[in-house]
Amino acid sequence: MELFQFLIQLFSNQDLLFRIILIILISFYILFALILAMQIRNLNRIVNQITFSPIFKLLSFIHLGAAIALLIFTVLFL
């Protein structure tokens, strides 16, 4: 019965529902960003363009960092 009440509350509060969906999506996105960063690092070992490879790796880690920061912000401040 409590679960039922919780679900009713959840679906009547669009904002709360939206935040939960966002947290789930961002969590999956972090996994994707992590895989992407690792792949870019590995591929840069195969072909290393000395002037651009460090920038490329940095961009992929900024992407990962931004995703983690967004999740922390969503969980702590919303």
């Binding site: 994707f32 792949q39 931004a66």
Partner: protein
């Protein structure tokens, strides 16, 4: 022909197995940019398992014009939220979420676009063919979880050709370069490579003027 010279030329001939000299006939050393799709003797590029005296002669990626579809898609996606904002009066009665949640949603949306651009650029940047004075290396990346690296020695190459089908390829001068290797070894293809005729000339020159 003098008799002595004729004697010298008779008998079995052994093909020169030594490493081919680097051909510089078709271009001087070039500075490679991150957006370069074709480079002759690129400077400051290294690859895995590169031998000490191995020099990169050609670096080939897909032609730059092949990136237009995903760049356009990214631009359209970037302009969707401002357009939605213009029609916010119509949407607001149906979606009731706080401004903070809206802000996080928009940030997440733009982060996803950044991710999309990064993936598409990665797929283009790492789909690369390298021709060195010793071998040919083909790195194929399709999707972030799939990569395939293959290589063959220059002396195993039988034939090199290219095809350029369609008006877009003719206008922008790009096509598929096919490198056929001996026997049961896998063939190589530089997909949608810029200036395919020049690439074929360079490789043909290196494998000993078979063409």
């Amino acid at each position: 022909m003098p008799e002595e010279q004729e004697k010298e030329l008779t008998g079995e001939f052994i093909l020169n197995n030594e490493k081919q000299p680097v051909t510089k006939a078709l271009g001087e050393e070039e500075n490679l940019h991150f957006y370069s799709s074709l480079s002759y003797h690129p400077k400051k590029v290294k690859f895995e398992n590169q031998e000490k005296d191995e020099e990169i002669v050609l670096l080939v990626r897909r032609d730059l014009i092949t990136n237009v579809p995903w760049i356009l898609t990214a631009l359209i996606l970037i302009f969707i939220p401002p357009l939605l904002f213009l029609f916010s009066d119509f949407i607001t009665p149906f979606i009731q979420i706080s401004p903070q949640t809206q802000l996080v949603s928009i940030l997440f949306y733009y982060l996803a676009i950044f991710g999309f651009i990064l993936v598409e650029f990665t797929l283009w940047y790492f789909n690369v063919g390298l021709v060195t004075n010793i071998r040919i290396i083909d790195l194929d990346v399709s999707g972030i979880l799939y990569k395939h690296v293959s290589e063959t020695r220059l002396n195993l190459i039988e034939d090199v050709s290219y095809s350029q089908v369609g008006s877009v390829r003719s206008v922008f001068n790009y096509g598929d370069v096919l490198i056929q290797t001996a026997g049961t070894l896998a063939n190589f293809e530089f997909d949608r490579a810029p200036e395919p005729a020049r690439i074929v000339r360079v490789i043909a020159d290196m494998i000993g003027g078979k063409h």
